[in-house]
Amino acid sequence: MVVPRLKSLLVAVFSLSILFISQSVFANDGGEGGAAPEAEEKFNAKEVIFEHIKDAHEWHVIGDISVPLPVILITNKGFETFSSGHFHHGHEKYQGNHLYGVVEGKIKAFKADGTIDEEATNSIWDFSITKNVAALLLSVTIILLIFLSLGRKYKKNGVNGPTGLAGFIEPVIMMIRNDVAKPILGERHEKYLNFLLTVFFFILINNLLGLVPFFPGGANVSGNIAFTCTLAVFTFILVNVNGNSNYWKHIFWMPGVPVPMKIFLAPIEFIGVFTKPISLMVRLFANMTAGHVLILGIVCLIFVLKSLAAAAVVVPFTLALSMIELLVAFIQAFIFTLLSAVYISLATEEHHEASHH
């Protein structure tokens, strides 16, 4: 009973924070001396939503308060770090090795006359601790805190039944081991269990943190294409490094079909090698991003309709969607893990049935 109540509280806080943002937007516009209708036209739901979903060099907390994050750059003039606070929310430029400014969340180098220095910009390697990276580090800290303490506890008296946090986490670990790794990978599951468990909890914690509507949650880490791409690449590497001769034979010279068919199938199967991890990448990215967009879109209805009364509909709706998103957070982490296990299993299987294709 406590959980839904807490969740609705979160939603309320979330709605309020959005309200504050829009108010500050209105206030800024009011300062320019424009008429009220003109200011209202300035609310752009798409902008608000994409600002949330995209990465940024500062972490917006509430209203005008943002946490500046370190910028780490490698350019043609070498390595440098400075605080993103120097950009003053993107309004100003910072003179480092180049004159840097932020355009749509990306750091660009500028010439003295204010135009973008294409050559210097193209040479920028941006390794900054962005909002997503910071959220990533936070999630890792949480994961380490949870699992290192659990590990210590299990080392001491793991043979006894699980208690406390272990009683909550252990069934999830058992689910990954008994319902994913063992039935799919069989005898080979122990070799890949570390990867599967780590991937599952890494995605799950990031998904859940992304659902927390206020600082320091809410960063769209697992809905970031770079994040999902990296994880998919790990699966890709595991699959292809461990793939046995059987696996490669099925790709390049399909057994059990006529020669023209073999030639015809080879490129298709070869593309399949890449589409599998790409599907992993896109599935997680699209699901999490869509969830964020949906919730934010519905909350933005209040401001689009310019009516506080809309909250009466929007808040319960957001609550319901948040519940679904909780489920999705779990399911997506599970599916990523499950499919990774399936792909590894297919690549390492000894007796491959020809009926798959």
């Binding site: 979903i53 601790i129 380490l144 793991g158 043979v159 252990e170």
Partner: protein, 170 residues
Amino acid sequence: MFFLEINPLIKPDIGMVVWTTVVFLLLLFVLAKYAWKPILGAIKKREQTINDSLATAEKVKAEMTQLQSENEALLAKAREERALMLKEARETRDKIVNEAKEQAKAEANKIVQEAQVAIQAQKMAALTEVKNQIGSLVIEVSEKVLRRELSDKKGQEEHIQSLTGQIKLN
């Protein structure tokens, strides 16, 4: 360039890729060593312990059943033995009693016999004495009679004559 025109939302940032890689590898190795190994190890050990305990319980149960049946068999055997011993004891008792009875009877018979022999002997002795007394009495009486008879010679000779007449010489 065409490739740079794609939506920034689906364009991976190199920074995020690098950080995710670093963080994930770190997480993978740290968790593998300090979390998954002890946790999975403990779970496996626990499963083993539970299985072993169940097997042991089953074994003990079987042993108990066996022990119980053995006990019962032992008990039955003991009961049988007791009955046998009682029977034997009874037999022995009867035997002893019978023997004693026999012996007593024999002893009694012997005593009676001895008594009879003694009585016989006494009787004989008494009879002998009586005979002797009678004999001497007869002799005395005969003496007296003879003394009176011997004075009559003729009568004597007659008597001798009758006696000799009785003797038949074959």
